[in-house]
């Protein structure tokens, strides 16, 4: 066995030797998870530095725990630490200080103990947070009218807050997503703020968050008076309803919430309210719509009948009016035509009379013409005979005076070369040609001598 064991290949574990610093680091690593909540009284002296503070936490039996706290932890408390017996609870872990070789309690959170001091702290914080606007009405988000999806933040081990909420919630098909938290004690603040953040990150479409817990003494409600929780409520994108404690407990969380009710039961009731109203109203709306549409049809039917009657009346009236006008027109027309007919008859009569006159005139003229024609014929024959006789006489006269007859009797006619009858020979010239006409023929001769 021994041989076998010696044959095993095992790493050689060397004895570890720490330096002091390394050992303190090692210890501090081990001590860090030793979270604790310790209650005690603040000692006679507080060492304040700009960024941190030291104080001793004492027990009545004289036990002392040296505490280190960063300035911001005290600021979150809202009120300064007082030396000489102030009761507090500190939450944190122990740590060795390497420069002094002593254990300090690293305080992560401080809570006040005792109703009097808590009220004082409450008032101071309330004033501070109000001044920062955390409770302002304009920051409040509206609660949806019909919340269907609810994030519920409370404890399943509490004094019936969960049961009260669930049993009072009406059966309206709510979907409740329950996040269990501690609602009392030093861990409560972190758990509640985590729950609010979780819903905002993972279920941002929820209609509302309900943060609730049952009644308790003022000290037990302290998580709801913390600055951290007020800030978490204020930062939530999902609206938050709080129902914390009793009627007269108004925590800072209540003031920061978008809607505050007194108790878990009230929180359930307020979520029921609009659903209850809607389930009644929805029937009422149905009835109203039916009545309204019927009313409208009736209204329109009446209007149609009314307009129909009115239309008949109006058309009738119009027709009568037109008929009257037409009658007038006819009357005027017939009167006008009557005048025309009368005039025409007179004209016709006149025309007939004139026609007869013209006819007799024409007849007379015809007779006259006939007479004239007859007379003319008679005259013509008479005048014709006389004219013929006269003409014979004239002809004879003419024949007697004709130059031809003179020529026949032996006379001649002499003309110059221009055909002009020569009556005075003195105007002639020697050698000028002249023509002499006889009864039968003519001769041309040259002048030899003028006498």
């Amino acid at each position: 066995m021994k041989i076998n064991q010696s044959l095993k290949v095992e790493p050689i574990i060397e004895e570890k030797v720490f330096s002091v610093s390394e050992f303190l680091d090692f210890l501090n690593e081990k001590l860090k998870p030793c979270w604790a909540i310790i209650q005690g009284e603040i000692g006679e002296k507080i060492w304040n530095y700009p960024r941190f503070t030291y104080f001793n936490l004492l027990d009545k039996d004289g036990s002392v725990l040296k505490c280190f706290v960063w300035r911001e932890v005290i600021e979150n408390l809202g009120i300064d630490l007082e030396s000489g017996g102030m009761k507090i609870k500190v939450m944190g872990y122990p740590e060795f200080r390497k420069d002094k070789g002593e254990v300090n309690f690293q305080v992560q959170r401080i809570e006040l103990v005792g109703e009097g001091i808590l009220k004082k702290q409450y008032e101071i914080l309330k004033k501070k947070l109000a001044a920062l606007g955390y409770f302002a009405l304009e920051r409040k988000k509206p609660i949806p009218r019909f919340c269907e999806n609810i994030g519920l933040i409370t404890s399943k081990f509490g004094k019936g807050a969960l049961k009260d909420f669930k049993t009072n919630l009406g059966k309206f098909g709510f979907r409740i997503f329950f996040y269990d938290v501690r609602v009392e004690g030093s861990f409560a603040i972190d758990e509640i703020t985590q729950a609010i953040n979780w819903f905002n990150q993972n279920m941002p479409k929820l209609d509302v968050l309900v943060l609730t817990r049952g009644g308790g003494d003022w000290e037990s409600l302290q998580p709801f008076n913390s600055e951290d929780l007020v800030k978490a409520i204020s930062a939530s994108k999902i609206p938050i309803i709080t129902g914390i404690g009793h009627e007269d407990d108004t925590t800072l969380a209540d003031l920061a919430a978008d809607l505050r009710v007194s108790t878990p039961t009230d929180a359930a009731k307020i979520l029921n309210e609009n659903w209850k109203l809607a389930s009644i109203k929805v029937y009422e709306f149905g009835r109203n719509l039916n009545l309204a549409i019927k009313g409208n049809f009736k209204d329109i039917k009446e209007k149609i009948i009314f307009y129909g009657q009115d239309l008949v009346k109006r058309v009738k009236k119009e027709i009568l009016l037109k008929a009257g006008r037409l009658d007038d027109l006819m009357r005027n027309l017939s009167l006008s035509f009557k005048g025309y007919f009368n005039d025409f008859q007179i004209l016709e009569r006149n025309f007939q009379q004139n026609f007869l006159t013209v006819k007799s005139l024409i007849k007379n003229q015809e007779l006259k013409i006939n007479q004239l024609s007859e007379d003319l014929n008679k005259d013509q024959s008479r005048w014709g005979t006389a004219a013929k006789k006269n003409l014979k006489q004239q002809e004879e006269k003419l024949i007697r005076s004709s130059p031809i007859l003179k020529l026949k009797q032996g006379y001649t006619i002499t003309k110059d070369s221009f055909g002009k009858i020569i009556k005075d020979p003195t105007k002639l010239k020697i050698s000028q040609m002249i023509k002499t006409k006889f009864y039968k023929g003519q001769v041309s001769s040259k002048i030899k001598e003028i006498e």
Partner: protein
């Protein structure tokens, strides 16, 4: 997660608006019929939704929370 197929709030609000519209004057018949039908359809849906009454309860599992 919440389903969004039927939005009760929107439907209910529309019913209220239709109801109010019918209280008004000078109602056009065609529009009235259209609104009436829409209103009745929404009312029916809302009634159905109100019938689905049982609440659902679900606890969030906090595997990742530090102190548990």
């Amino acid at each position: 997660m919440p389903d969004e197929k039927f939005n009760f709030t929107k439907a209910y609000q529309e019913i209220e608006e239709i109801n109010e519209w019918f209280q008004g004057e000078n109602i056009d018949l065609d529009e009235a019929l259209e609104k009436y039908e829409r209103g009745m359809e929404l009312i029916e849906k809302c009634r159905e939704r109100l019938k689905e009454a049982e609440n659902k309860f679900e606890e969030i599992k906090k595997k990742y929370t530090a102190e548990e």
